[in-house]
Symmetry: D2
Subunit: 371 residues, 4 copies
Amino acid sequence: MTVTSPVSIVASDAPDQPDRTPELDGLYREFESELLVPLWTEIGDLMPHAPVSAAVPHLWRWNRLLPMATKAGALVPVGRGGERRAIALANPGLGGRPFATPTLWAAIQYLNPREDAPVHRHTQHAFRFVVEGEGVWTVVNGDPVAMRRGDFLPQAGWNWHGHHNTSSEPMAWIDGLDIPFQHYTDSTFFEFGPDEVESREAPDRSRSERLWAHPGLRPLTQLDPSPATPLLAYRWEHTDRALSEQLRLEAEGYTATTEPGHAAVRYTNPTTGGDVMPTIRAEFHRLAPGTGTATRREVGSSVFQVFDGLGRVTVGSASWDVERGDLFVVPSWQPLTVETEHGLDLFRFSDTPVIEKLHQHRVQIDPRKHA
Amino acid sequence: MTVTSPVSIVASDAPDQPDRTPELDGLYREFESELLVPLWTEIGDLMPHAPVSAAVPHLWRWNRLLPMATKAGALVPVGRGGERRAIALANPGLGGRPFATPTLWAAIQYLNPREDAPVHRHTQHAFRFVVEGEGVWTVVNGDPVAMRRGDFLPQAGWNWHGHHNTSSEPMAWIDGLDIPFQHYTDSTFFEFGPDEVESREAPDRSRSERLWAHPGLRPLTQLDPSPATPLLAYRWEHTDRALSEQLRLEAEGYTATTEPGHAAVRYTNPTTGGDVMPTIRAEFHRLAPGTGTATRREVGSSVFQVFDGLGRVTVGSASWDVERGDLFVVPSWQPLTVETEHGLDLFRFSDTPVIEKLHQHRVQIDPRKHA
Amino acid sequence: MTVTSPVSIVASDAPDQPDRTPELDGLYREFESELLVPLWTEIGDLMPHAPVSAAVPHLWRWNRLLPMATKAGALVPVGRGGERRAIALANPGLGGRPFATPTLWAAIQYLNPREDAPVHRHTQHAFRFVVEGEGVWTVVNGDPVAMRRGDFLPQAGWNWHGHHNTSSEPMAWIDGLDIPFQHYTDSTFFEFGPDEVESREAPDRSRSERLWAHPGLRPLTQLDPSPATPLLAYRWEHTDRALSEQLRLEAEGYTATTEPGHAAVRYTNPTTGGDVMPTIRAEFHRLAPGTGTATRREVGSSVFQVFDGLGRVTVGSASWDVERGDLFVVPSWQPLTVETEHGLDLFRFSDTPVIEKLHQHRVQIDPRKHA
Amino acid sequence: MTVTSPVSIVASDAPDQPDRTPELDGLYREFESELLVPLWTEIGDLMPHAPVSAAVPHLWRWNRLLPMATKAGALVPVGRGGERRAIALANPGLGGRPFATPTLWAAIQYLNPREDAPVHRHTQHAFRFVVEGEGVWTVVNGDPVAMRRGDFLPQAGWNWHGHHNTSSEPMAWIDGLDIPFQHYTDSTFFEFGPDEVESREAPDRSRSERLWAHPGLRPLTQLDPSPATPLLAYRWEHTDRALSEQLRLEAEGYTATTEPGHAAVRYTNPTTGGDVMPTIRAEFHRLAPGTGTATRREVGSSVFQVFDGLGRVTVGSASWDVERGDLFVVPSWQPLTVETEHGLDLFRFSDTPVIEKLHQHRVQIDPRKHA
C-alpha cells in the first residue's frame, strides 16, 4: 500500500509528556509510518474521568421541520432506491452525519395522499411515533397497522415492511432507528421487497394487536421469549390511561409515579417484560402542571419528542422552551431537567438496552430543588 | 431408638430377583433394622419406563360441590385458626389427603353475605378463579380486588390477604394453591394478620390493575423482573376477547389458534412474560362448537374447571360429559382428549413451571383422528 | 367406582373448630363420599408456621453399612432387572420408603471383582461419590470414567451408563439421586441398554475430563449452556487443593473461607457456573482442627457423608460423633452444627436447586457461640 | 449558535434520486442550515446489503513493533498522566485513530527493568496476553499476578491495577481493551490510584487463581454470577494441555475439534460459563501441521496474534505469511482463512459478546476446499 498513513501524532505539551527531542520526533514519525499511536498522547481524550460526548444537546423545532418535509413531499418522490422520504436530525457535534446521537437515528418521514413507501427489510431496529395525523398504514410482514396520533409502532429488525397512505391528506411522523449503532458495529444487512405493499386493507386494529394486546395474556402459539416485541402497535388510549392512573393513584396517596407529579411508562416486549427491541428503549413521560423533574444524568443517549403541552428543558448548558412536536437530544452523561407550568407529555427513546446489557450503565440524580 | 423400624422388605418373586434363601431373609431383616432398602426389590415402582402416577383421573361435579359448600356456610364459621371455609378435592389415588394432584390443591371456597375471611400470609402461591357470582373483594396488601365471573386472581406467596363479602348474596369460587408441593418440599411458612381486612373499599378496579393492566406498558416505578406477577386481576373481558380474536383470525386464514378450533391463552407475569407464579401455570382454553383436541400427554399434572359449554373429556381410561363448574384432574402422562358439540370454555392450572424449570418436561401429541 | 373412599375426616377438638353436631358429622360423611376434605381440619398440618418435616435427622454408620453391602455381594447377583446392587437409606420418618429425605435417594452400591452393572438410562439425575477404594470404571455414553477415593462423578439424567470392576477387589461407593423427587413429580422415564458396558478400557482420565477439566476454558465444540454438567469427574486432587488453598489464604489474612476455619467448594457445571444437575447440589466442606460451624438452618434437605476426620454433628435434637464414611441426613429447617477437634472433611448433597429455582429458599444463621 | 453547519448535502446522481432543480438545491441548503440530512442521499452508505466496514484487514509485524517499543522504553517515561507505555495499532481505515477495529484497542506495552506502571481504574475492560518474556506482575486490587509467555490475564472494568517489573530484563506484551467501544458509547469513567503498586510481592500464583483455578469448583464465598471473571490468570499450561487433548481425541476418533486439525478453546468466566468480560471474547486456536480452516465470515471484528508457528492468513483480499508475535485484524464480515504447513497457534480476541447480546450475530462458513 503506498497511501499516506492516516496517523499523525502531535506531541502534546501536557506536563506528563516525554521531553520533546529529535529522537522522540523520529520515533513518532516511525509510529506514523507503522500505523501506531501512543496511548500517552491520546489518553485524555480516550479515557476521560467521566463521559465527554462529541454529541451536543440540540433542539429541532417541529414548526420548522414540518414545512421542510412538506416541501420535500412536493420535490422528492418516494420509490425503490431512496426507499423513504425521511429527513434525519444531524447532531452538530457529529460531523454532519445524519445521527441524532452516536447510536440513534431520528427522522421526520412524510407520505403524500395515496402514496406508497416500498417494501424492504433490514437488520436495523425501527419504530414510528405519531405526534399528529393519521391515514397511513404500515404493513409489517403483511399485517396492516394503522398509525394515529400518540401511537408507538415498533418494527424490529429483519421484518418486511412498507407504508401506504390511504387518505387524501399527507401524513408526517417520526422514525427512530439504531442506524448509527449498526453502522458502527458493521452489522447491517438489507433486502428489497415488492415495490408496493402486500395489503391495501386498512383495519382499525392489526392482527398483532388482536393476538397480543390483552394485558397479561399471551397466545399459546408463541411461547418462547423473542428478542423483539411481537406487538406492532402500542395505542395512545392505553398509554394515556396508564399515565392518568399513575397521577390519580399518586393523588390518592399511593406510590405510582416516578417522582412527584411525574408519571412514566416503558413500552415492553410482552414475551419478556423487557425492552421492545434489543437496542432501543422507548418510554412515555407525563409531567403534571406546575411540576418538574430532578436533574438526572445517565450513561447513554436519548432523543425526546414533545407530544403535548409546554415546558422548559435544560440539557447541560442548553435550555429551551418547548412545544408540541419539538425534538431534542440528550447526550450521554449530560444533566437533564424538565419543568412545566401547563403540563407536558414527552415521548423518549434511548440506547439504554445497549448500555445496560453491556453493564455500562450509571445514573446520577440530583433531587429537585424546590423554590 | 426403640421404635419398630418402618422398613419392611418383601422378597419379590420377579424373575430377576435373587434366590430366596434363609441367608437372604436374614440379610433383609438386617436391612430393616438398619433402615435400609434394596433397590432391586423397589426398582419397578421407583423407576418405571414411563410415569405411573398414584393420582388418578377424577371428576368432581359442581352441582354436588356447591350444595355442600352452601351447607358448610350454614354450619362452619370462618375465623382465626380455621382461616378459610375451603373444601378441597382429594384425589382418590392419594390416600385421602386433600391433594387434587401430587403437587396441586384445588378447593371450593364459600363466603356468606357480609362475611370476612381473616388476613394472613403464607409462602404457598395461590389464586382464585370465579366460575359464577360476584360481591367478594379479596384484599391483597391492602389493595381491594373485586372478584367476578371469569376473573383469574393470583395471590403469590407471602402477600397479606383476606376476603370480604360486601353483598347480600353468598359467593363461591375455586382456590388453587401449591400446598401439596410446598408441604412435600417442607418449605412452608405462615403468619397471621388482622382478623378483619384492612380496607372495606369496593372499587371496580384494583390499584394493581390501574398500574399494570395496560398491554405492553409497565410503570417506571417497578422495573426489575419479579418472580410473581404484580397484576392481581386478569379480567374476563380481556380473556374472552383474546380467545374470540384467535378464533376470528383463524377464520380469516391466519395462524392464531393452537390447533383447529382451539383458542388458548396463558396468564403471564408482565415483568417477565413467564408464568404468573413460580410453581403454578394458569391458562384458558376455548373449543369452538364441533371441534376437539388432539390427544396429548405431558409430564406434570393439571386441574381443569369447565367455565362454560358442554363437552366430553377423556383422561386415560376415564371419560365424562362435563358442564359448567365441573372440575377434573389430569395426572402426569395421562392422555387427555376434549371434544365438544356446543363449544367449551375451560380454565386450567398446572404444575408445569416446576416441571419445566427442572428440565423434566416431555410432551407427546397424537393428532386428532377425524371421523 | 365402588371402592371405599380413602377420605376420613376426623373432627378436630381444637378451639377454632365448628361445634360438633349431627349436622356437621353428616356433612363430613358427605365430604368423604364425594372425596372432599375441609381446610379447617387440616390447616395445622398443611400450613405450619415454619417447615415441620416428616423426615427426621438420622445417622447411618459406615462400619455397619459396608458389612451388609459385602454380604449382599455374596447373596445378590447384579443383572438386568434389578440393575444395581444398591442399598438405600430409608429415613425413619418417611414410612419405610427408600428415601433419605423427601426428595433425595442415597445408597451404598457394591460391585464384586470383575463384575458389570448393566447399561441403562433414566431421567433421574445421579452421581457417585467415593469414600474409599478404586478399580471401578463407570462408562457414560461410552466414556469410561475411573472412580477413586474423593472423586465426585455426576451422571445427569438420560445418559447411558453402566459400571465395571476391572480389579480383583470389590468396591463400594455411594450413589445420590433425585429418585424420590422424580417419583413424586411423576416424571420418570427409564430405558434398558446393553447388558455389558460398551468399553472395557480403563483410562486414567475420561474423555470428558480431557475436554472440560481445564480451569476457565471450554471447547468451541460445545458453546451452549447445558442444564447438566458435561464434566463427568471432579477429582479429589482438585477438591483437596481448593480447600487447602482457602485455609491457607485465610491464614494469610484474606477472605476465602465461609466462616473461620471452614473452607467449602461447590461442584459446578462449567457451561453455566451453576449447579452440576438441575435438581441436585453437591459441595465439599473442610473444617480445620479445633473449629466449628455456626448453627444454620435452611429450607431444603441434605445428605452428608464424612470423608475424613472425626467430629460432632448436631441436627435438631440429635447429636452424633462421626467418623469416615458415616452418612447423616439434615431435614428441611432443622438446625445443623458441626464441631471438630481433629479436623473434618464432609461431602454434602442437597435438593437446594429445586428450592432456589422455585424461590422457596430461606436461611437462618445463628453465629457460633465461642466458649 | 453562529457556527457553520457541519452538514453538507451532495446531490447524488444515482438513478433513484430526485431531479436536480433549483428548488431541490434550495431545499438541501435549508436542510443544511437546520442540521438535517435526507435518507435518500445516504442510504447506500448507511444501509448496505451486507456489512461494509471502514476498517480494513491489516497486519502488524512483531519484529517491527518490538524495536519501536524498545526505543520508546528509552525515550518515554512511564508515570502519572501518561499512565502506560502502550503503543496502539491504528487501523488504516479508521482515520488515524488508535483503533485496531471500530470497537477494539490493541497495543504493545513495554516495561523497563524495575519499572512501575501506576495504579488506576477505568470502566474499560482490559486484558494482557504474553507472547514472550516474563518478570512483570500486574497487581489487581492488591493481588499480584505473574505474567508469563502464553498467559491470558483479564482485568475487567473498574478494578484497580498497576504493573511492576521485578526483573532485570524489560518485558513487552499486548493489551486488549474495549476503549473504542466505550469511547463511542460515551460510557468511560477513570480514576487515579497510588503512583506505585500496593504490593511488591511476586508469588507464582495469584490469590485469584488459588481461589478459582480449580476445574468445576467454586468457593462458597462468591456464589452470585458476576459480569466479569474473578479469575485473573489463565495459564499457558492449561491452555496448551486443553488444545493438545482436543487434537489427541480427534486422532482417537472422537469429536473434540472445531474442524479437522483445528483445536480451539474459549476463555470463560467461571461464574457463568460465558465470556470473560461483557464486551470482549478471547479464544485460543491451534492448527495442526498441514491443515487449514474453512473460510468463515461473521458479524463483528477480531484481532489475532500469532503465538507460535508459521502460517498463511487470508482476510478478504489481503494475504500474509505470519510468524510469532504478528498481529492482524479481521473486520466485520470479511472472510478469513488460515493455513499452515508447520502448525500454528493463534490467540484471538473479538467484540462478539456485544454483537451476540444485541442479537446482531450472523456467521457464514464456506467449507474448506481440499486440493
